[in-house]
Symmetry: C2
Subunit: 346 residues, 2 copies
DNA sequence: CTGTTAGCGCCTTCAG
DNA sequence: CTGAAGGCGCTAACAG
């Protein structure tokens, strides 16, 4: 089913059909109608691929993600709403998980799609950010922090501080931090926020309680277990994202530790899944969907050839208290230590 | 950045570069290495578009959706997991929302992408299902019910029955049904299940309490309000999906009706958002992610040229009791009617 | 008004 | 072992 079939059936040349499709001038009324009829009777639709190869304009915005997980799909929801009514269509491409090349997927995906197929792109949590000379690009929560690209992210540092302060206010002193990956800016900032709040409260950070969980449920399972099986385990865990917090919840259930009775857990992101745990997860909310729609706002400006006034949008985070945090249990090492005047503020 | 640039830089022809890229025989070791170096130094990636136009094999699976909302993104998560390790990449295309042509988006999207770009497709909740002679296609929850296409859906009828019976068991008699769209099979089956359970319990269905909510939050707002502002409003609402149930919750809060004290609400789907409402939504869970991964299972078989043993997979649903349902409040019309022996089983 | 010609970037014969 | 030629489906110039 190609433009050729249509042309042959209608008894005209492919060029004429092309003109009819793109409603260009220079086609007789009668011819146009006949071609239209053939098109609809054959159910023909022009191939996005061939068209884009030739014309370099597709009206399609690409959303590049490593894989479809709770964070990127929330972005997608926000993007989808923002794009409705703009006349653009959406193409979400996942180039990461499959091929095993977790690193560099963003450049690879962009190269494969840009120049053709997509008129602009939003890249979700890219690790390497380099300015591309092809189509306009906006980055969401880039792992290396804002760079040359227009960027949308949220206030990771303040969010981590508020989470940690919440735990401290509940009396926790032995607090573990389950980080993402050391090479990721968001993870680094969340750890920095954690340490900052601890320092302000004059509570020492036990290095044994700081682990790397890789931001994924599977990769966080091991370190979560390790933390919870420590001789003097913490009374609280602050995980750098919700997926790892959920893994911690599972590990706790596994080992037989009650949450929030014996252990408090705080996550980060507030993906929809966070509210579905039992008990529901206390977490630091990022306005994820809004990050998606704001990115589209920037991108549409860029694609229209206009400059964007603020190439870096930082959205606020806020603590959402749900059911996984409570005051520190009596009789735990940290409460004993506290009673003995070991650590902590007066 | 095309294959031409690489060829020129390396001092060979494009054909040679192509051979190196696709690791074909007939290239000298030295030449191959030099070309490889140029490729990586230039950061070249072959264009998916141009390649697919020529070779008709891309290793890309297309997921066609109308828009990115909670249901389709859950599917995406399941698909993403199932596809990891198969070597395929994922391309999710949203052809519905933007162009305004809500109907027929699936055929349009499929035509635009198939034949090139994608080797196979999963179509999420298509309205018109027609067997396509192009690439292999699997439908998830088609609105017209299973037809010629291999299909994955869930047991809508049984799910609706269980939701209604749950409400009946709690003593509710005036139960409203907020349907999706009359032309959608899933919506029809959910209504049928509702009526079936009501009939079995010998509780009459008040036609004034059966409305159409369009499966979307925005479109359900009106009918939800209408139902709740009725003189003798129902004591329970069964919404045909979670989004409409959430809209009902909002409408109730708006009008000042307490849930579940004065009104019970049940949804359908169990998207992650369902657990995040206050109180958390009681709903009928579909294994949405699994529907996605099962669809990929079928599709991969189909793409390998094998026949699938069961071209129609129907997955089970189950009631998830959370916080929006409770026994019927005392002193309501229906409890009064019941006291007077008006309706209901003994 | 309509058809012919020339590519877009790539891959696949087929000669050299 | 390498390069030149043709064509995938389509559009943009140019002829007729």
């Amino acid at each position: 089913m190609t433009i050729n079939d249509v042309a042959r059936t209608a008894g005209v040349s492919v060029a004429t059909v092309s003109k009819v499709i793109n409603s260009r001038y220079g086609v007789a009324q009668a011819t146009s109608e006949r071609v239209q009829e053939v098109i609809s009777s054959l159910g023909y639709e022009s191939s996005l691929v061939a068209r884009s190869l030739r014309s370099h304009r597709t009206n399609v915005i690409g959303i590049l993600v490593a894989e479809f997980e709770p964070f990127s799909t929330e972005i997608l929801k926000g993007v989808s709403q923002a794009v409705a009514g703009t006349g653009y269509e959406l193409l979400a491409y996942s180039g990461g998980g499959a091929s095993g090349n977790l690193v560099g997927w963003e450049r690879r995906s962009l190269s494969r799609l840009s120049g053709t197929l997509i008129d602009g792109a939003v890249i979700v949590t890219p690790t390497v950010v380099e300015v591309h000379d092809g189509v306009p690009v906006v980055a969401i929560d880039p792992h290396a922090g804002p760079s040359g690209l227009p960027t949308v992210d949220s206030d990771n540092l303040a969010g981590a501080v508020s989470a940690t302060e919440h735990l401290l206010a509940l009396g926790h002193r032995r607090i573990a931090f389950l980080g993402g990956r050391t090479d990721l800016e968001s993870s680094r900032l969340r750890e920095e926020g954690f340490r900052l709040a601890m320092e302000r409260a004059q509570v020492p950070v036990d290095p044994a309680l700081v682990r790397v969980g890789g931001y994924r449920r599977e990769t966080a399972d091991r370190p979560a277990h390790e933390i919870l099986e420590l001789a003097d385990r913490p009374t609280a865990v602050f995980a750098a994202n919700d997926l790892m917090a959920i893994a911690t919840l599972e590990a706790a259930a596994d080992v037989g530790i009650a949450v929030p009775g014996d252990l408090s857990v705080v996550g980060f992101d507030d993906v929809p899944e966070a509210a579905a745990t039992t008990p529901p997860l206390t977490t630091v909310a990022q306005p994820i969907q809004r990050m998606g729609s704001e990115a589209i706002g920037l991108l549409v400006e860029l694609m229209a050839g206009r400059e964007v006034p603020t190439p870096h949008l930082r959205l606020p985070t806020r603590l959402v208290q749900r059911g996984t945090t409570a005051t520190v249990p009596a009789g735990t090492p940290s409460s004993r230590a506290r009673a003995a005047g070991g650590a902590a503020r007066p």
